[in-house]
């Protein structure tokens, strides 16, 4: 009997369409509690596959018969086994998630944010399983990428489909939660790779230093990418204003949270920078700018159309992290109340510096789990 597989693409559609799926997660309890496929419209049951080796009869009563049951494991092998056992018991509504949580973590959904003023387009790539966001600015046959993930083919293929040549690749900062695909894409496409120099003191490759006030044009029309130095998450963190309309805030400001200052080990030192960036530098910008962050943490941060975007003025009203009057209270929140650090974040930073070059399989392992770059 062949088990029905559900692809990560189909799963992403079900999340975005707010469908009512039943997830049978057969990883260990620890793995499940740490990280799962998030949707407030899903129901979940977690039972490790090794507790089901002798049979699935005991859980049959607890599984719905009238909607899809998707079995999920780490890589898609154990879920196949369990799904097959359930089918043998007569269930017809069972699927195995192809490639498991690893594939889920790698799935990217391109969502169009908007047209740009001079005929260009702006796309947001939503890495739905891990909460990473990256961007492509397209204009007159040229493309710029911001905070690209290591799934480099997705961007290169997308640019090809749009008949655009990738000419500039940016990282807003040295990432600690995921491996950047920026350098590889730049090498492959002969694009310029930009990094903030203050984050790049230890990198072992050549890059173009991205400094405050720098303007880069994409296409022969004028889609400006204006760099705005905004330290706090890292010392070099830089935001971009694209086409005078969009503020790419990197890991400094998110929709429902703010960046954490400790992932390079300097929470106490950088908390002042973080406050200055959020409460002074950003405050001077137009309220009408649409904030496009590098992460989301919860599905509530997604808009109806699947984008993660909100006006800066709205965030100044609603984002708790922008509304802490007392500086000591702010300091306390961003240094004492921190969530656990992302999986393998030190190794990820070293990979992004070019100091180590792990095999692809190891890179996947390193990126397991949620991004955890924010503090609420």
């Amino acid at each position: 009997m062949t088990v029905k597989e559900m692809t990560t693409k189909q799963m992403a559609e079900k999340v975005l369409d707010k469908e009512n799926v039943f997830i049978l997660d057969v990883r260990t309890e620890d793995a499940f509690e740490d990280w799962k496929i998030e949707s407030e419209h899903f129901d979940y049951m977690n039972i490790p596959y090794f507790d089901l080796l002798d049979g699935v009869e005991d859980i049959l009563d607890q599984l719905p018969k009238d909607r899809e049951v998707v079995v999920v494991c780490a890589k898609g092998g154990s879920s196949q086994m369990v799904a097959e056992m359930l089918e043998e018991e007569g269930m017809t509504n069972v699927y195995s998630l192809e490639g498991g949580m690893k594939a889920w973590s790698e799935h990217l959904v391109p969502v169009k944010v908007n047209d740009l003023k001079d005929g260009g387009e702006l796309y947001q790539f939503v890495r739905i399983g891990k909460g990473c966001l990256s961007y492509m600015v397209l204009s007159n046959g040229e493309a710029a990428l911001i905070d690209a993930t290591r799934m480099t083919d997705v961007y290169i293929d997308f640019a090809n489909e749009k008949n655009a040549q990738i000419t500039h690749v940016f990282d807003t900062h040295l990432h600690a939660d995921h491996i950047s695909g920026g350098r590889q894409i730049a090498e492959q496409t002969k694009a310029t790779y930009w990094l903030p120099p203050k984050d790049a003191t230890e990198v072992v490759f050549n890059y173009q230093p991205l400094e405050d006030g720098e303007n880069v044009k994409i296409g022969n029309t004028t889609i400006d990418i204006h760099a705005l130095y905004s330290p706090g998450h890292t010392i070099g963190s830089t935001s971009f204003v694209v086409d005078d309309q969009y503020l790419m805030s990197g890991d400094i400001l998110f929709i429902d949270s703010i960046g954490r200052p400790d992932l390079a080990g300097k929470a106490e030192d950088w908390v002042g920078d973080l406050r200055e960036t959020l409460y002074e530098r950003y405050k001077e910008l137009s309220d009408e700018l649409v904030v496009l962050p590098a992460h989301f943490m919860i599905m509530d941060e997604l808009n109806e159309d699947g984008t993660v975007a909100e006006k800066l003025g709205t965030l100044f009203e609603k984002n708790h992290g922008l509304n802490i009057e007392d500086e000591n209270e702010f300091r306390k929140m961003v240094t004492e109340n921190l969530p656990p650090q992302p999986n393998a974040y030190q190794e990820i930073r070293e990979t992004n510096m070019g100091k180590i070059t792990p095999e692809e399989e190891d890179q996947r392992e390193m990126e397991i789990g949620p991004n955890r770059c924010a503090v609420r």
Partner: protein
């Protein structure tokens, strides 16, 4: 350590290392030790959790030349 049986689960992906471990455990007596070799990185978390839920004791584990080695005492 007195190892009763060695199980080679290298090259196998989930769920096979656990399936084979479970089977091999049936062949040894309580108190005896099974040594397991695996290359699937997921084996670490899974074997640890499986041993605990099955009342066995994971005595030791280490990585040698990309091979994960585990010693589990049957409970």
């Amino acid at each position: 350590m007195n190892v009763t049986k060695v199980l080679d689960a290298t090259g196998l992906a989930c769920p096979m290392p656990i399936v084979k471990t479970k089977k091999a455990m049936k062949d040894i007596e309580t108190g005896e030790v099974l040594e397991i070799h695996a290359t699937d990185k997921g084996a670490k978390g899974d074997l640890t959790a499986w041993a605990k839920s099955g009342g066995h004791e994971l005595l030791e584990h280490k990585e040698e030349d990309d091979v994960l080695k585990f010693w589990i005492q049957k409970g």
